[in-house]
Symmetry: C2
């Protein structure tokens, strides 16, 4: 139990991460300080945001140091504890790393969780974790949807996007999803209840613009943006007056050498529309409220959450790369133990 | 009086407008319909927005038709009238065109004005017109400045920008202006009371970023954006948490073949900041309120408004091009008669 396998960042990726950027290394777990506890990690969340943390850009979190394990939200079980309220056997969730064992302290994202309160313990990494809370607060608080609104969701087959589309439907909005490939588009309409699905593959900005216009001839009230690049530019050409764009992510440019951003922001003037950045960390104090509502919708069969679990620390990189290839179906999770 | 010289759009400009895109033509004034009045135009407002109206892009206004005179806000005197309340001799302001005579009807921007109520009748094209109201409502309503805020204004020596900086100072903000050349920068601090001026000439994004950081090491709360391109990208790298960017214009790209937009919008996520487009047309119903406040500030010596008047319909193009060369000092106005 004193040996710890860690998925280490050896080199900052240039473009798409490759094997040489990482190493699986074994280290010895240091002794616990007062207030700390040792977590046996069972599952790690794999998210596009981690690609940003691997770069050296100053962002909302410091870069992952070279030589350190890759930062990730994990869920696991307390093995040893020198912290009040975190006894051996307690399940916990927190912002830790992709490794067998993490040392936790109370604060930030770290919190005890109850595996019996949810259908599956991994739901804490999807419905009740950063993903679910991003969908819930990012959509409701930042995009301010109203019943009848036309809502465009990009990256719609992804973990956050599929939840946003379903929440839009619960609220009485029209949900249009953009995703890559016929299979994912079928999932949007057949499994998640989107009204329309648009396959972005093989489409340039003009073709994407036309495809959105075909299903939303009067424009869209809300865009929940996960992708950026051509897809955002096409969305910007289809805004209604006063449209709100919630900027959740820009996955199309995380592996790009230079940011593309939004070329068509002149449309914000034309339609007096807005783009607002969102980050789930702002809503930690309201997670209980969001989780209760999401859990209620899920229990009532109104909200489907899919999880895609790959196994083993030695699969960390291929599992992570699925997010950029689009080969995952649901929230991407790595099973560690 | 039946002959009308008109500054006609002959061809849609490709890049910067050139002489061949226009012609000064003479036509006969048609007879008035009931509800119309004939305006002898004295002054026309020259604004960057007109460049957008010359393109064929669908925007917040239809493109100027080829063969039609170039749309402009003008002020003039009613010569003949078949409209109630608009007697011969009445001064009026309205969205007309660059021409000797325009036919007006009540509605939209069109309104009677009183030349004795203001220091100069041209103030209706600056302080009390679209320019002044853009500065007033665009800044106060869209950017929501608070005392103590650090406000960055781009295109700061321009008609709108110079007013926004002065309003920021009146409200107790720190005003930082970006402009082109040492002379304009000196005007910002010495004439308009900005705290800091940054000369964008010869600076790339990194140098602009560093120049902003040097005077606003903790970032900016508000950006009032008139320029776009490298200057907007540098501003995006200097946002405080929750910063508001009011997007008023993108003059750097009006003559460009392709829009550049905002490459660094990932910073909106990092700082949960927003970009919101603004257009003065939304505030027509509140112009009296805005004009009263601007007039009060100007009368108290707190607000300086500069006007740059070129003379003659045959000078319309060189006068208009000053806006893009930056050779005007103050609100650009063409004296027609």
């Amino acid at each position: 139990m004193t040996q710890n396998r860690q998925f280490i960042l050896k080199r900052r990726p240039n473009g798409a991460p490759v094997a040489e950027d990482f190493a699986l290394e074994t280290s010895t777990i240091p002794a616990l300080d007062e207030g700390q506890f040792l977590i046996r990690n069972h599952y790690a969340s794999l998210d596009p945001a981690q690609r940003g943390w691997m770069s050296d850009a100053d962002s909302y979190m410091p870069p992952i140091p070279l030589g350190a394990p890759v930062r990730a939200t994990t869920i696991g079980v307390v093995e040893k504890s020198r912290a009040e309220g975190f006894a051996k056997g307690q399940w916990v969730m927190g912002l830790n790393a992709i490794e067998d064992y993490s040392i936790g302290t109370l604060g930030g994202f770290t919190q005890p969780i109850d595996p019996h309160a949810v259908p599956k313990v991994t739901n804490y990494l999807s419905l009740f974790g950063a993903v679910g809370m991003t969908a819930y607060f990012g959509f409701l608080d930042v995009c301010e949807p109203k019943p009848g609104d036309v809502v465009l969701i990009t990256g719609a087959a992804g973990a956050v996007g599929s939840l946003v589309g379903q929440i839009a439907k619960i609220l009485g909005c029209t949900a249009i999803g953009i995703a890559g490939g016929a299979e994912k588009c079928a999932r949007l309409t057949e499994r998640y209840g989107f009204d329309h699905a648009i396959d972005y593959r093989g489409k340039d900005v003009a073709a994407l613009d036309a495809a959105i216009r075909a299903v939303a001839p009067d424009g869209v009230d809300v865009i929940f943006e996960n992708v950026g690049g051509d897809i955002l530019d096409a969305g910007l050409m289809n805004l209604k007056h006063g449209a709100r764009i919630g900027l959740c992510g820009l996955i199309s440019e995380y592996n790009a050498p230079q940011p593309v951003g939004a070329r068509n922001i002149w449309q914000l003037i034309v339609h007096r529309a807005s783009i607002r950045g969102l980050l789930v960390a702002d809503y930690i104090a309201r997670f209980a409220e969001g989780g209760a509502q999401m859990g209620e919708w899920a229990a009532a069969g109104k909200l489907i959450v899919d999880e895609h679990v790959d196994e083993g620390l030695d699969n960390a990189l291929p599992a992570f790369l699925r997010l950029f290839e689009g080969s995952n179906q649901g929230k991407m999770i790595l099973k560690i133990a």
